[in-house]
Symmetry: C2
Subunit: 505 residues, 2 copies
């Protein structure tokens, strides 16, 4: 039964309605001839990246200096929308399950975003929204205490290799933040997000008094010009919510939110991102930067979840989302955090209600506080659940959450964990073709096609290594048993008898 | 703010209504004086274990040769029930949230089991049922291909250290199965479960034709005499369901179920555990072995979930559960397996309906098939969810599932993963005091009490090691920052300002 043909992978391109639209996929051919398409991005890790969007930005639709949202409202299908529709449709190998019209419709309704700063031509268009596959963001970034420039680019490549759909650069406290970011943008085929407040605080040399609206605004503008695809801005954290946050065990745990709150407390003024929100919208509209409306009051403890601070801010964020929509600026909504499992669904339901179904983008949520070192798992439990309820993108949490900055190994483990959680949610949502890869895996298991199983795994190298570690040497290329049951009795072999008996297949 | 007092742990005993009832706990005193009780078992890893149940078995209630179920039906509170009630009540430090009467009532209704073979005096009574905290089982066991005697005892100690509530010995294919099991029973303060069919097949030297009812029955009786606390027996896998299993991609993946099905196919006879079920009940009643009614047709693939094979067998198991109940034999119900996240709740609901709310005991379920090497996570997502819906015990899945036998490191990671999933479900179920440890953790985070955080962690050593790996040397004993944000700006410090501002605490 064992066979000796190895599965193989190759890069292919699916062409859109014009030759300029070439969407990369990995075509996987299994040893029995079965074929699957797997999502990928162009040149992950290679340098320099092709500027795939350059022709779109110059084209009649793209050159218009209109945002994707403005085009969608006007009924114009951009090249980006078509590109994203092809990626989305074939991600699960189910043909054109999603048409460019669907992408347009979802963006026009504010239920989806296509983050692509017109200054980031390397960015391969992708769409985030509840109708589509669940996306995963990886946070990376240097800090004053740990990590440097080269390691962060290496982490970016690692994140791309393991399927990050977007990457946030959270670098702070290093000498050349702008330079690092420029390098990241040039090396990234996925949208890059930032929290501009981090750099603003650095520009103010850590002095809250020097962190004025002008410094913050200039930082936002400079980052938009660089090509950042989305900004986390904590504009919904208002003075009226601070007393509720003070009642918590852990108060404010969002770093950006905390910086903003410190400005508000020190100067006794309202949130400057809120009072100057129209100016921020103007910058975002000009470059088509999407706004990720940050939850500065996300709960950092099970105890603090679902309180007046969190839900009050969410309501304000919903009002800001409406203003984004009216201004033609794409936006999505950040969510928790730490939430008990029985209140996860409620978080999605309230986001839908308050924020008009703008895409929800959550950090987990973590469903208990007592597992530091394993918080990728604690948070993937909540993440899979909320994504099954409609959350569009999950921000990964790595094993070092609450303890340290992620190492490269943490980045990998965090991503694989979140890719499996997102995929579980895609299956739960019933996306067309979502189980194709699972079913191919199950068939490979039934046939003892071990190398096909590895090729279908989210972490091929690791699965192979674990399997090899216990197989006896010289037991043949693909033995018809495994170390779990050993050669004497194997349920899988019994199933062949069963199928013969009942004439199946 | 940092302080230099280390938290410390000590063993204490809570006494029941007689001095013979002494329930061990770990008393944790944090550096700020806060105290918590943590569940533990006697002498985990030490040898020989005290025979804590010896006086109970000899007492008027215990010596009666009645099962816990028979006592409960007769309104007799056994020492075991009282012991279990104390464990359960103080597991979350909430005083007598669960009285012995509650334990009796749940057992008498068939909604809970207290597995304790009268020949296993080292077994510290514990109760499994939806009203109580979610339990975690660890599977260990030697096989012909991998692992030996000494390593399995070491795995047992490791499982106890990391909080296994029960342990299943799945050893097969080694020379001295009985001897290994006897050693495990003597070393185990938690209930030990087995799948007697494994040993029966070994006794038949792997020859299905020699695997007769008599061989199987004798194996069951011998293991009952040894002191095994619960048996997985696949008595619900009937001929009528085999055609449905043949239609699956992965047919039968339960090893015990597959052996039984092979007997049924080879001899064209009905399931012998079903036809001789009354004889099995007689053996179990005599020793008070609980029956874990096995799901021989549990789905092994997302594709195969929730089909006629699985649900048909579940209905038959429900009928068998009724027969157990009438015969005074405690029973619980095994469940899947591989199930998409959107159908997890349905599995618990059907089990409640078909099986009269007998405790459900599931293996995960895994919510996708494509993450070998990470299936502890894939399954913890489904496990936390189904436990929040009412499943009473989760069988852990280790990182090597589908690839190899678990290594000691896998046993540890599998357990921590499942302890966190079970705890998340306890919080979701709203068990009294369930968040006490989480809240203590959050307070320790707010105060930068790092060593208190580690002491409160499910894996103290690991959390400490990750944290230490990135802290600058000579930064003091407990620095008021961490490597995530560095010393310059820390949200946690801002929260102190917030609390002062609004006069909180």
């Amino acid at each position: 039964m064992a066979n000796t043909t190895h599965p193989h992978k190759e890069r292919i391109y699916l062409e859109g309605s014009t030759p300029a639209i070439q969407v990369p996929f990995t075509s996987l051919t299994l040893s029995n001839g079965e074929k699957l398409l797997l999502s990928t991005v162009e040149g992950a890790g290679t340098s320099p990246l092709p500027k795939v969007r350059a022709p779109f930005v110059k084209s009649s639709a793209g050159g218009r200096k209109r945002t994707q949202l403005e085009c969608a409202k006007a009924g114009i299908i951009t090249e980006e929308m078509e590109y994203a529709a092809i990626r989305e449709s074939y991600a699960y190998g189910d043909g054109m399950a999603f048409t460019p019209e669907t992408v347009l419709k979802e963006i026009a309704a504010g239920r989806a975003v296509l983050p692509c700063n017109r200054m980031h031509p390397e960015c391969e268009p992708m769409v985030i929204g509840k109708k589509f596959s669940v996306k995963v963001n990886a946070n990376i970034g240097a800090s004053a205490v740990s990590s440097g420039y080269a390691e962060e680019i290496a982490k970016l490549h690692l994140a791309l290799k393991h399927g990050a759909d977007t990457v946030m650069d959270l670098s702070t406290g290093i000498d050349d933040l702008m330079g690092l970011r420029q390098a990241m943008l040039g090396a990234s085929p996925v949208p890059i997000g930032t929290v501009p407040m981090y750099e603003a605080l650095d520009r103010a040399h850590g002095d809250i008094n020097a962190l004025t609206w002008e410094v913050f605004r200039d930082t936002v503008r400079d980052q938009a010009r660089q090509g950042v695809d989305y900004f986390t801005i904590h504009a919904g954290l208002l003075q009226e919510y601070l007393p509720y946050a003070a009642e918590r065990i852990l108060g404010i745990v969002s770093r950006g939110g905390s910086i903003m709150a410190t400005c508000m407390l020190r100067r006794e003024e309202e949130n400057m991102a809120y009072t100057h929100f129209d100016e921020l919208l103007e910058i975002c509209r000009e470059y088509d930067v999407a706004l990720s409306l940050g939850d500065g009051l996300r709960p950092g403890a099970i105890h603090d979840a679902c309180d007046k601070a969190q839900y009050g801010e969410l309501k304000t964020i919903g009002q800001l989302a409406k203003r984004c929509f009216e201004a033609g600026v794409q936006c999505f909504i950040e969510g928790p955090g730490h939430v008990p499992l029985n209140r996860v669904a409620e978080n999605q339901a309230l986001e839908d209600e308050y924020c008009h179904e703008a895409p929800f983008y959550t950090l987990g949520p973590l469903v208990t506080d007592i597992a530091p070192g394993y918080d990728h798992i604690t948070s993937a439990i909540g993440g899979a659940q909320i994504a099954a309820c409609g959350t569009s993108m999950l921000c990964y949490v790595t094993p070092s959450e609450h303890l340290a900055l992620p190492t490269p190994e943490d980045v990998k483990v965090g991503l694989i964990t979140y890719k499996l959680a997102a995929h579980a949610a895609d299956i739960a949502k019933g996306l067309p073709g979502a189980t194709a890869r699972d079913d191919a895996m199950s068939r490979a298991r039934a046939d003892f096609r071990w190398y096909d199983q590895f090729a279908l795994s989210l972490d091929e190298e690791h699965a192979l290594a674990v399997w090899k570690s216990q197989m006896p040497e010289n037991c043949g290329h693909e033995p018809s048993f495994c170390s779990m049951c050993g050669p004497r009795f194997c349920p899988i072999r019994t199933n062949r008898v069963l199928k013969e008996k009942f004439n199946v297949r």
